[in-house]
Symmetry: C4
Subunit: 216 residues, 4 copies
Amino acid sequence: MAVPACSRRRLDDVSTTRLETFADGVFAIAATLLILNVDAQVTEGMGELGRRLVEIWPSYIAYAVSFVTIGIIWVNHHTVLRLLSGVDRTFLFINVFFLLCIAFIPFPTRLLATYVRTDDGSAAAVAYGITLTTTALFFNLMWRYAIGAGGRLLRVDADRREVDGITRSYRPGVPLYATATIVGMFQAEVSAALYAAIALFYVVSSVRFGREEAVT
Amino acid sequence: MAVPACSRRRLDDVSTTRLETFADGVFAIAATLLILNVDAQVTEGMGELGRRLVEIWPSYIAYAVSFVTIGIIWVNHHTVLRLLSGVDRTFLFINVFFLLCIAFIPFPTRLLATYVRTDDGSAAAVAYGITLTTTALFFNLMWRYAIGAGGRLLRVDADRREVDGITRSYRPGVPLYATATIVGMFQAEVSAALYAAIALFYVVSSVRFGREEAVT
Amino acid sequence: MAVPACSRRRLDDVSTTRLETFADGVFAIAATLLILNVDAQVTEGMGELGRRLVEIWPSYIAYAVSFVTIGIIWVNHHTVLRLLSGVDRTFLFINVFFLLCIAFIPFPTRLLATYVRTDDGSAAAVAYGITLTTTALFFNLMWRYAIGAGGRLLRVDADRREVDGITRSYRPGVPLYATATIVGMFQAEVSAALYAAIALFYVVSSVRFGREEAVT
Amino acid sequence: MAVPACSRRRLDDVSTTRLETFADGVFAIAATLLILNVDAQVTEGMGELGRRLVEIWPSYIAYAVSFVTIGIIWVNHHTVLRLLSGVDRTFLFINVFFLLCIAFIPFPTRLLATYVRTDDGSAAAVAYGITLTTTALFFNLMWRYAIGAGGRLLRVDADRREVDGITRSYRPGVPLYATATIVGMFQAEVSAALYAAIALFYVVSSVRFGREEAVT
């Protein structure tokens, strides 16, 4: 903040801060809106409440998986921005499209929770998968743009090894979600389990990555 | 932050920051609430889910166009605030009315998505257009007030050419949306396509404007 | 930020910042949720859309009045926090109760918009009035606590005249809303007009107050 | 911000700030969404509005108790973060799970408000209790992780007595909520009263704790 600006661009630190405020707003709202999906599963006149609360367990899983998935993406978004010296208009608009995907997540989450065990399960699993695959695509595009052209937006002091480690860690996202989407065409429940497994994989590997980083 | 305040007004840096927090909150929530409109298009007992998810494509377009439109306005709002040394009460209240328009956007978006291909399409297209035209009017009012009276709220070091460039870039907003609104009275679908085209035009020209700025 | 902390309390600048983030979040969400009330007035199968959009004009007024009222309170909350050197636990909890009132506003707003022209208008007008009166009470409590005990939380450099001016400007809130509430028991529509008039009065007087302050 | 970073970790101050932005977003949204539960209790064609607004008093209590409970947790979360020098990935993910619980609160709140006086009261009271107990568990996990391993994430200058005081003050949360949950299996209304009493206890003891702290 108090550091004199010496970047090649006019849109600088302040932009990063405001992008964070807006992005964190979208992350937080998209994650918090997920509960509306669970809530909508319990309406009056549907029999004993206790049993109903047990029956809708897929809603809880879907809520948790999507919340944690949004949480993972938030942690990664934050890792990316920490490494940038500033942002430009192109980067801001890639972010707008990326956040458009994030804000979309509650919709296929509700579909998956409601339909996974019905004949419509495949459509729901595919809708979920397309959303997450597209989100991962835009996330990668955002990162590629930031580090492209010889580190376009990177801080001068950004650690090359860290940057490469991040590039590597973001690589599996698109193929993983694309695979789960294709599986979803045939087996909705297996696909749903894969989405949960991907989230779990990311939490574990992200925590481990953070540990290594701290050790270095 | 650490820079000693030497402005003509008492409501200073802090105000700009808090205005950003509140404004970014409204931007983020209005954008994220848009998904509720898409979600409401899929209710139980309406036939095969897969087909339904394809049928509601206007909802996706409406979601994307409004999200990106809000994103564009957010980027512009942020460009404006970056150039100000501080804000006063009048500016804050113009912002409140401007944000009132932003928060209104999800409503006509839902109308347009639901009714565009029905006999009620015109009413929906006009409602959308009036909202966006009014938003553009308040945005211009905000900017005019800030630069009025010899640069009332402008930073001392604000680049005159940049300020003029911004003034020029905000000029087409009101006539463009007003035109699309009038078209909407007769042709809802053409009007909807125009709203999408305006958003696209702004993304492209904003990115190009950002490039020129960086080059200068 | 970079200024060394020399206050009497441990919960300092950071607290003020976080209180602002949380408060601005509640302000922004409460204001933005208001649009859901308007949206709920337009459901399928209710006749011609154009006519319906005109018929629900009380919803637009209610939306605008509540949005601007929340905006006014936001501006005032921000004026208060700007004058404080820090916050303590008691102040934080008064704020929690105050924000509880702010977040409640969308509910009576919907009631007033829906019922003002029906036999249930009085109940709606009274519900709206009680909410706003309570909000004004907590706002005053917050301010009284901050300036109490010889300026408990005030900045050392807070201008005494400004503080007194603020105290004076917050005085009419409770009696104004209480009066409109009592009127609501008998005349819902007059009461609704009073709520709009109070908002207008505050915008005008707040802008004027800001001007005088700038001149001084 | 302007202070040179000299911590053991790379993810530093900035992380704390962004965690706050995201967390405060979730806190603010979860708290503000609570009003939707109250609003849903009043639908058209249910008789006289005035009587209905009185009848739904459990909704107001539930709204207030959950809002204040979220407010208490927010104050405590903020006390914790103030004492940390930075955060690591593990801490961020514990926070994601913790916020997942916070965002869940509106759902059992609605259940409790709707069903407390019916045969389904027990199920609702237990659902509320499990949510709050789990939230308290994750909160403690977060704190334990931060102070574990010899003050893993603590500021170097963190006051040992304050840290111990905090550890002590967080201890009763889990047993209190677990007890109220068990009571809920048999007596929904007593359980609901206990949730309110716990919130009240925390407000009072938190304010008192803050006072002692200020005196010290």
